[in-house]
């Protein structure tokens, strides 16, 4: 697997998620969690666990479709 291509896909995904406000939603979740738990008691793992289920579920369909399409193209092109 070409790591360059993977990076590009990751960047593309990141950009799409920022555009559609997904990232801001995640940040808000983190902020709420940090406020509840006390901001000095928060660990990165905590936040990852907070975000992951919601994050995976709330990714917009259009973004998912676009990325899946590109990934499939890419996988096909690397003759798997």
């Amino acid at each position: 697997m070409e790591s360059g291509e993977k990076e590009r896909l990751k960047e593309l995904l990141r950009e799409r998620l920022i555009e559609c406000g997904w990232r801001d939603e995640m940040k808000t979740l983190c902020r709420q969690f940090a406020r509840k738990k006390g901001r000095n008691n928060v660990t990165v793992d905590d936040l990852v666990q907070v975000i992951t289920p919601k994050g995976r579920a709330s990714i917009p369909d259009s973004v998912k479709a676009e990325l899946l399409r590109r990934i499939r193209t890419f996988l096909a092109s690397t003759s798997l």
Binding site: K6, K10, M26, C30, V42
Partner: protein, 178 residues
């Protein structure tokens, strides 16, 4: 016999969504670590807390602006964090440490401009000794009980406990500021 293509496509699809999951996870970790940093440093929270404080102080101002104490400056009475309300500072009068006159605090800055010369010929009566002493005094806060001293080249300086003001300074001769 199943068509090999279908199997390939299925596994492709599986692989793609697995791949997408990977990408998403790494992005999630990025976001989480950034939020963690923000939370620990209190970066994001500062704005929220400030907003709350602003709201509280606005409320306090509303409370104070009641007809209970609107004597002089009507909306200049602000309740501070200890619940005290005091008149705005501008009305305080004290002595200028340079010329010894009584100055209203609100006019102190423009007064100092002329008083200390600031390169203008507004105060041609400045001596070397007073200039040197001014530089020392101006480091402290202007609102304290400085005893006024005239423009003479007297060598006794009354230091108010500010950082070691030496007694003897240049007490010889006068010197005109440009």
């Amino acid at each position: 016999m199943s068509m090999p293509n279908e199997d390939n496509m299925a596994s492709h699809a599986q692989l793609s969504s697995h791949f997408l999951g990977d990408l998403l996870d790494s992005i999630i970790v990025d976001v989480a670590s950034e939020c963690h940093r923000i939370a620990r440093l209190g970066l994001d929270r500062n704005s929220e807390e400030e907003e709350e404080e602003l709201r509280l102080s606005a409320q306090a101002r509303v409370r104070v602006a009641d007809p209970s104490n609107s004597s002089e400056a009507n909306s200049k009475y602000v309740v501070d964090i200890f619940g005290q309300s005091h008149p705005s500072v501008a009305s305080e009068v004290f002595d200028c440490m340079n010329c010894g006159r009584f100055i209203v605090a609100g006019r102190f800055a423009p007064h100092l401009e002329k008083c200390m010369g600031k390169g203008r010929k507004a105060r041609p009566k400045v001596t070397r000794s007073t200039t040197a002493a001014q530089n020392r005094y101006s480091r402290g806060s202007p609102v304290s009980t400085y005893s006024p001293y005239a423009n003479s080249s007297s060598s006794n300086r009354l230091s108010n406990g500010t950082s070691g003001v030496a007694g003897e300074e240049y007490s010889n001769g006068t010197f005109q500021e440009p």
